[in-house]
Symmetry: D2
Subunit: 314 residues, 4 copies
């Protein structure tokens, strides 16, 4: 089900090449005047077509607020934000040939052949646009909190633009690692076990297409340490609950599966082997665009946890 959250509830909808994508955000406090310019800037960070490093698709991504906002302030009832799909080239997609590394095949199975296959349909990374919008509202509500993500590795190395350009020139793609820190979160947020801060944030982060690993604090490096080293006092989460110290996490982004090179696939109607090349316009690396999405997910998750705690945000 496409719903996240307990106090702030997000229901996202839409397909990449359908009429529109969007999100219904329930639980926003009334009387909040969102800065829509800030939201637009956040969405621009995620938007494609900005430079040579990303796909040339120029999406306008202009958001129309259908409900929940009156005279510039939230009413307290659900806010629906809709983004029309305008710039779509559906002829690029072949219904019967699932693109390797994409959700094409699994969506075909899950939805018994009825999934909208164009551009990944509902599984498209385009669905992260409403998440960034929701995150932009969450950031504004998280007064005193600073959430900042950045790319720390591209193809295993410290980020340099030529890394991505070289992959692009090779008709290939690269992934990377994004780190994120959230400062200003008070101690005591989170629930034991199934509602731990890590459980909530990881559930959100793993809903971002291409994220395949999530680690908190020193993550995998902790597994190599001894207790005398790992018993640090500066970790942001202990026992699933925030400590009041900054929360640090890192995520791994896999390389964009759409590459120019000819790849093996099969025909889902005949099960016969076939060849495919990614004719659509694609990013050689989505890491730069994913930074805003990671921040948005963190903001949404932390806001929900904060509201669950019953403590006022001020």
């Amino acid at each position: 089900m496409n719903t996240y959250g307990k106090m702030i509830k997000l229901s996202i909808f839409g397909e990449s090449h359908g009429a529109a994508i969007g999100v219904v955000i329930d639980g926003l406090p009334p009387g909040f005047a969102p800065d829509m310019d800030f939201a637009a800037r956040e969405m621009a960070r995620r938007a494609p077509g900005k430079n040579a490093l990303s796909t040339p698709r120029a999406e306008a991504d202009s958001v129309e607020i259908l409900s929940g906002l009156f005279e510039g302030k939230t009413t307290g009832s659900p806010l629906c934000a809709m983004i029309r799909n305008t710039n779509t080239k559906s002829e690029d997609y072949n219904k019967n040939l699932p693109r390797p590394g994409h959700a094409d095949y699994t969506a075909h199975i899950k939805y018994k052949g009825f999934a909208d296959y164009r551009g990944g349909g509902h599984f498209s990374g385009r669905l992260t646009a409403p998440i960034v919008f929701a995150g932009a509202l969450a950031k504004q509500l998280l007064i005193g909190v600073e959430i900042a993500a950045k790319a720390v590795l591209i193809e295993g190395k410290p980020p340099q633009d030529d890394t991505i350009l070289r992959a692009k020139d090779d008709g290939d793609s690269v992934g990377g690692v994004i780190s994120c820190v959230a400062k200003g979160i008070p101690a005591g947020l989170g629930e034991p076990f199934f509602g731990s801060v890590e459980s909530c944030l990881s559930a959100l982060l793993f809903s971002i297409p291409a994220i395949k690993a999530v680690e908190f604090d020193d993550g995998f490096a902790l597994a190599d340490m001894r207790g005398s080293q790992s018993n640090r006092t500066d970790f942001g989460i202990l026992g699933g609950i925030t400590t009041g110290k900054p929360i640090n996490f890192r995520v791994a982004i896999k390389p964009t599966p759409s590459i120019a090179a000819l790849q093996d696939t099969f025909d889902i109607t005949t099960n016969r082997p076939a060849k495919i090349t990614a004719a659509g316009r694609h990013d050689p690396c989505i890491v730069p665009r994913a930074i805003a999405v990671v921040e948005a997910a963190a903001a949404i998750g932390l806001l929900d946890l904060w509201l669950m705690s019953g403590e006022e945000i001020k």
Copy 2:
């Protein structure tokens, strides 16, 4: 909130040194005759006191079924499994000195000073016992599925017993990495975005105390690859949905925070610095015992996803 799942709903309860711990499992199909010997063996894998590598606390961990079972078969109504706490030495714990690396401090803040501080209270690793019990039922219901976890690294090296013994001799502790594979899961399980297989499993895995990182398939290693390498056809999850191929994931377990060495802490009543040593009986490494817990979490999550898909298990 201490509840997990949509079709199989787990509500866990209990504190380490309280009267009992347990779990209410709702959604079990009626007419299922659980093999209680198998469940006992699974719980023995997690139980302490087995050898020099684990804590000498000998917990009986015998499960009493309070409801949901009639003439050896599930009735379809909630099954409550209770484990009495018997072997507790509460005098080992100092209410005012939070143990470094433990949930003592965060639980104190979250519950405004009223948490049961003895042995970690509700945050104790002991609460994973009912999870292993629930996992043992889930494994039996997942006909045709094989879930197997193992330690792949202890203190950064391939597992060898002396690694743990040496840490123990040093009055220290070590962590490690557990890998897990689930075979026999059909294609098409999972939901897009917030209900992705990774989101569901990671939420469960991160509820296990000491797990600080989760990666699926090649995880962080994917971030170093190019698309031409990472577009593999043998991955178990694509777009958050199962492919029918084996599901692989790895988790990082941090070193046991309770170590014999004298550590810095502070007095929560005075905020003054203090020293603490872990007087309780503790594992120098919980990785061996955590293996059964990781398998249980995987089984519970996958069973829930399978039942959500509406497809029959056979």
Copy 3:
């Protein structure tokens, strides 16, 4: 929170005089080709402006499907249906004078003064339009099921048009009782206690504005009987679970609170007494229009219960 359902999840949004109202429906099976003409006819049954008995507001109520439908069939991902608000006369509403019997005052308190007060905002009966649309889909999915509601009492008497017209002529309004029967529901749907059929349906029915009472089978009349009379074999629900017999329920609709007569209210800014008259265009009786809403609620609730049971609908 504005979300209903476990297997079929509805999230409604919108305000009476805002940009649009709508619903996100998650959980629809893929490959279902909804008959949109049927949906339009169902919505026409609820729509105002049809004759002298209802408000002269003529709402087009045309539905735009934003997502979840591809080549005329459901994709399996969330279907968002949006209805633009076009015919609104906001100058009819006075922000400071809550209309007696309406949600104006309670919405003002709940949303701390920021509710969209125009035409009842999010609390408007207009929000039942997306519920009727969702119900029209549910009816089509409930193969072999027949759900039929009708007015059985208007102002305490068997329905006659003049009853309503007389009230209208008096500048007053009337309520009534709607009965509903659902045939073709198999035995075994529902959950014990909090998930009983009555719990699920009543939660939906009481979300329809103006419904103040719900009774199942013989309802209040059962309280006057002896067990030898009430132990009937034709009741549709026993122990909260369906029996396979037709399900019968009745709901009470209170009179439309908006009446032409001058009424007492108070000014929310000064707390001083004031007078108000319903200047907007209103129904002297909403019972005729509510019939389609009651059927829709029953269809949605029963579909959700059916899908929860895991039994196929055929």
Copy 4:
């Protein structure tokens, strides 16, 4: 599923003749010292065997707290309350002959023949004992709130003991109507539509076995009025949200289905007609015992709504 609530979450478990019944209550604020004598008195109001009007079964109904309570105060983690079943006479029940008016048949179908049929199993009215316990805690947390229910009709007449005794002498049973008022609830609780106060309370009330009708304020009587009469200013709920005025509701309780008279049933193994007489010990009228249950349900529902509002209770 057997779980209720958003902020205060109840998971009930148990069968009438199994090992135990109970409830896990999650979301209780930490540091609350429940008055267990009060809880015992509340449970005594529901307990059978008090006088000639109720069943001679003498249930001890002593509650054991398994978790969530430390040094007499709630810890903030889930509180599990268990009641052992001691006084059961299972030989009274015939597995193959469903008792008319009971859940025997529907439970048999729902649970595919595996339900615990003894004494109604999980569907037994005995499961309301943990609800009364939870309600006793909720009442204590609802500072300044007074919830009082009473029988207003027995067999259609103002309550007189002889009404019940006469039915008992006739080997028959009677039902009745309970009214309940909740004073001290602030304005602004509840959510629009699916989370309306009526939706939440009715879902809880209809989970009480034997309740077949629920009406708020003037309920069905409103359907006979004109708007000029029904636009009263003293109603407790408008638009699904509390007004700050007392909340009034009434429920109909059907007659106890177990009566001494010989009744028609059928054999579920052969589908052949059969005769049955209620050999067990049963109440000729459960209305007196249900009063405490209705109050408990109201207290639980209102506490959950209050906590959802984010407003402090003081």
